[in-house]
């Protein structure tokens, strides 16, 4: 239901779970609980939940076709699935397309790879994390990031609900945000819509979608060229900003390959580790053997020259004076040069930071967006220091820290798997092999599966595994997704409830909810580390089974349980602790699996039984674990490795005849450039369409839960299309009027809600709405389906990361009351 692992307590009376509340002993959520957690009971006991394996009897498939489910036993269900997928595996395992969205069971995500298929995508991650995670991993070995709730005094929030409505461990984060506000922290929120964060912020700055980067570039211009206030020591001593760059964008290197810096005392280029820091030039252009060289910092300074607040005002619609004022307030609050002592150790103290997430960087130039926000924070010297912008590790293993080249931290754009190697013809339908620094661009399936030859794919997928994933709802290009479903010979779904996508399933395998199954969870905790136990509070309802058990049984029946166990050995980290290795010849129960996992991390005295008694082993991260995790290694300011990766891709793709494949975003520094979604405005799509949601929902699962649906029913903004009064007046639209939005990809309709809290050039469509396949009669169908407006092609995809454009340009037309 959610990525994160809030500590909860469940009251059970006569074998029936009757109440869920936050566990006050768990420092992650501090006893708090969001609406989703509270509503877990509604999911557990939903009378329309699928409780038995089912097979389809209606051969016709489609959204409106009833599958004609009939209940079958597990033996028959397993036999059908193992037979159909087993045949495919012998033929060509790549023909299995897998959409998996169970983030708490992230250890199971490798099942498709063990099956032999590279075709795994989340159908979700490319929206928010496509560009976000690679940049976090490259900057400080983190997976996510958050400002320092404890010490920050000035928080710029751009397109994010952190601390207010969404993202990292909301329940605890909301408390931390409230505490910070109580001690006087100021929040400035940049958002096209008056979001929850904007409504509660000290200041809301409406902005055009996809232009947040321009706002921040404008602020960077002010710091660098107008105020000339930035943390020179941090940039010179802790980043590669002083490294010299030659005209082609590469670092100047000596005969040994060492990056060079400019020695101010010697007035010469020398190896980065041969020059005392105080003699290292941060700014400037120099002549080296008759060739002009500039520091990496100087290169960005030169880029920023063009990004005056006045020019950025024209892009963003934010007044130049506002850009200047926020930049000034930020740098004043940053206290550059200050230090703070924490537990006997002195750290730089920079209590001002810019935080961001999906809304501000899920765009076709998302790599530049992420780089810009990081570099802006670096100007204040606030990366991973008290008060600043902190990396958040993927899990309990902490930051990915190891030395790279030139005294740098080794960039880790991939933390869920090794970097994909280039291959042509590609194996994966989402072309993972062509995104060496990116994530799974699941949206590209809409292009490649229907036209495999165009991309060199020498096969077509024939079957799908849906595991807590609803591509029909979650992905762009709905019509193409339907065509993909129709092209499948066999579809199997592992899920809790029926969805739009399971309408195409041949077999439905019912999974347990989080209240019926065992798991140790630790994923992206912003302030703490450690695991919380999710344990069954009631016996699994009906014949539901744990997904681990289902996937293990299927592995066994298809003859690769040994490889499945070996895969789990790798992802659980047992290669470093061989005594815990799973026996490839043995089937391990769910409890055995998690007991071993617990003991491998916490020692043999803290196995599953210990967790059943204590609930969790969650503690606050120590200052040493939180601040400056990269030690004396430098972090990238100038992303030379990205530029170099692009150069290599250009050679590889040209060699196989793919000369037109876009590679333009492999740049070492961010700058302002337009994007297709902005260009679409010239084709008559005058307005920007955005979507939004609140803490009520995660992904699409929760939209069909009666309690949560009822809460969103009570707020009119979730049932309609938000339009600013100025725009509504211009178009003759009133609240309640039927409105059609048309983008280059498709059209949707909904009821207009005229509200002040949205930018005049923007229309907002709530994602906190119901879906199209609703089995529970207490959930009312309402709202519309924003993803139909999005396009999944490379034109709307970041060419370096695979991140998806989540904004659509639209025409707005009144259809009548």
């Amino acid at each position: 239901m959610c990525l994160h692992g809030c500590g909860i307590k469940v009251q059970v009376v006569d074998g029936v779970a009757v109440k869920i509340e936050g566990d006050p002993s768990n420092p992650d959520n501090l006893g708090k609980l969001c609406p989703k957690g509270n509503a877990g009971l509604a999911r557990l006991y939903d009378p329309t939940r699928v409780l038995h394996p089912m097979k389809r009897t209606n051969p016709r498939k489609g959204l409106q076709e009833k599958p004609g489910w009939v209940q079958i036993g597990w033996e028959e269900a397993y036999e059908i699935v193992a037979r159909e997928l087993g045949k495919l595996r012998k033929d060509d395992p790549r023909k299995l397309l897998c959409a998996i969205g169970d983030f708490q069971r992230i250890l199971l995500w490798g099942w498709p790879a063990v099956f032999g298929s590279p075709n795994f995508f989340t159908s979700l991650g490319n929206y928010c994390g496509g560009s976000y995670h690679p940049v976090n991993g490259s900057v400080d070995g983190s997976f996510a990031a958050i400002n320092d709730y404890e010490h920050c005094n000035y928080w710029i929030q751009i397109g994010s609900g952190d601390g207010f409505s969404s993202h990292l461990h909301l329940s605890g984060s909301a408390k931390r945000m409230a505490d910070a506000r109580m001690r006087g922290m100021r929040v400035v929120s940049l958002d096209p819509r008056c979001s929850v964060a904007s409504a509660k912020a000290d200041e809301w700055i409406p902005i055009l979608p996809g232009t947040d980067r321009a706002f921040v570039l404008g602020m960077a211009h002010v710091l660098v060229h107008e105020l000339r206030r930035y943390d020179r020591d941090f940039l010179r001593d802790r980043t590669n900003a002083p490294y010299l760059v030659i005209s082609n964008g590469d670092f100047l290197r000596d005969s040994e390959g060492k990056a060079q810096v400019w020695d101010l005392q010697a007035q010469a280029a020398r190896a980065w580790d041969a020059v005392p820091r105080e003699s290292m030039a941060l700014e400037g252009a120099f002549s080296h053997e008759g060739v002009k060289v500039r520091t990496g910092f100087q290169v960005w300074m030169d880029i920023l020259l063009e990004n005056t607040p006045e020019k950025m005002e024209a892009v963003t619609t934010v007044p130049a004076e506002t850009i200047r004022r926020i930049a000034r307030e930020f740098v004043d609050a940053a206290q550059i040069g200050a230090t703070i002592e924490i537990q006997g150790k002195t750290y730089p103290y920079r209590p001002a930071a810019l935080n961001y997430y999906r809304g501000s960087q899920s765009h076709a130039n998302g790599l530049f967006d992420n780089m810009t926000y990081k570099l802006f924070n670096m100007l204040a010297g606030n990366i991973d220091v008290p008060g600043g912008h902190l990396g958040v590790p993927l899990d309990h293993r902490g930051f990915f820290i190891s030395p790279g080249e030139d005294g740098m931290l080794k960039p880790e754009p991939h933390q869920l798997h090794p970097a994909p190697e280039f291959k042509y013809p590609p194996d994966s339908t989402h072309l993972l092999e062509w995104f060496p620094i990116g994530f799974d661009a699941g949206q590209l399936n809409a292009e490649t599966v229907l036209n495999p030859e165009r991309f060199g794919l020498n096969y077509r997928p024939e079957a799908m595994l849906l595991y807590h994933s609803n591509p029909w709802w979650n992905m762009p290009e709905t019509d193409k997704i339907e065509k993909i479903f129709h092209s499948m010979k066999f579809v199997v779904a592992i899920d809790i409830q029926e969805t739009e996508s399971t309408q195409w399933a041949d077999v439905f395998l019912p999974d347990c909810t989080f209240l019926e199954s065992t798991l140790l969870n630790c994923l992206e905790p912003p302030a703490v580390t450690g695991h919380a136990l999710r344990q069954p509070v009631v016996k699994p309802l009906g014949e539901t089974r744990d997904a681990y058990e289902i996937l293990t049984e299927l592995s066994e029946r298809m003859g690769f349980r040994d490889d499945w166990n070996d895969f789990l050995n790798i992802v659980c980290g047992y290669t470093a602790k061989p005594k815990y290795l799973l026996d490839p010849d043995k089937r391990h129960t769910v409890d055995e699996f998690w007991d071993r996992y617990a003991r491998s991390i916490y020692g043999d005295h803290k196995g599953l039984e210990w967790f059943k008694v204590h609930g969790h082993a969650v503690r606050y991260r120590t200052p040493e674990e939180t601040y400056l995790p990269f030690g004396n290694l430098r972090i990238p300011f100038y992303f030379e490795f990205i530029k170099r990766t692009g150069d290599q891709m250009r050679v590889k793709l040209s060699a196989v005849g793919m000369k037109d494949w876009p590679l333009d975003n492999y740049q070492p520094l961010p700058f302002w450039k337009t994007s297709q979604v902005i260009e679409d405005g010239k084709a008559g799509y005058e307005y920007y369409g955005i979507t939004f949601k609140e803490s009520l929902h995660t992904f699409a699962d929760t939209m069909v839960m009666p309690w949560l649906s009822e809460v969103s029913d009570k707020d009119a903004i979730h049932g309609g299309i938000l339009i600013n009064p100025v725009t509504a007046g211009k178009l003759g639209i009133q609240t309640g009027d039927r409105v059609r939005l048309t983008s280059p990809a498709g059209s949707i309709e909904g009821a207009a809600q005229v509200v002040e809290g949205i930018h005049p050039q923007v229309v907002g469509v709530s994602n906190t709405i119901t879906r199209q396949v609703i089995t529970n009669k207490r959930v009312q169908a309402k709202g519309t389906h924003f993803n139909r407006l999005l396009t999944g092609s490379m034109l709307y995809t970041d060419s370096a990361t695979g991140g998806l454009e989540s904004t659509a340009r639209v025409r707005v037309e009144r259809q009548g009351a």
Binding site: G110, T122, L416, P418, L432, I570, T575, A576
Partner: protein, 95 residues
């Protein structure tokens, strides 16, 4: 002669024909050990995992918890080390 405790995962398990084994070997380095690990096809694990003196990028060797870099095959073994061999699985993704 030193003794190494070997755990072979995935395709290296299939090549070697065992999952866990204690091996006595002549020499003192990881490369020495690999040369003395016969595979089912009649060669040695060294022949498969090593290319031009370096560990291939699609395989990994972990010695007492430390994952070897490609050029670390000359790492000295003193006996009693826990060594895991495995093939890299690349096809994970997410976000």
């Amino acid at each position: 002669m030193p003794i190494a405790n070997i755990a072979a995962l995935g395709s290296t398990r299939k090549m070697l024909g065992f999952s866990r084994q204690t091996l006595e070997f002549a020499g003192s380095t990881v490369a020495d050990l690999l040369r003395q690990m016969p595979t089912r096809d009649g060669g040695s694990l060294y022949d498969i995992l090593v290319c031009e003196g370096k560990l291939r990028s699609d395989f990994a060797i972990v010695v007492d918890g430390l994952s070897l870099k490609a050029d670390q095959l000359d790492l000295q073994l003193h006996g009693g080390e826990e060594i895991v061999t495995l093939a890299i699985i690349r096809s994970l993704a997410g976000g």
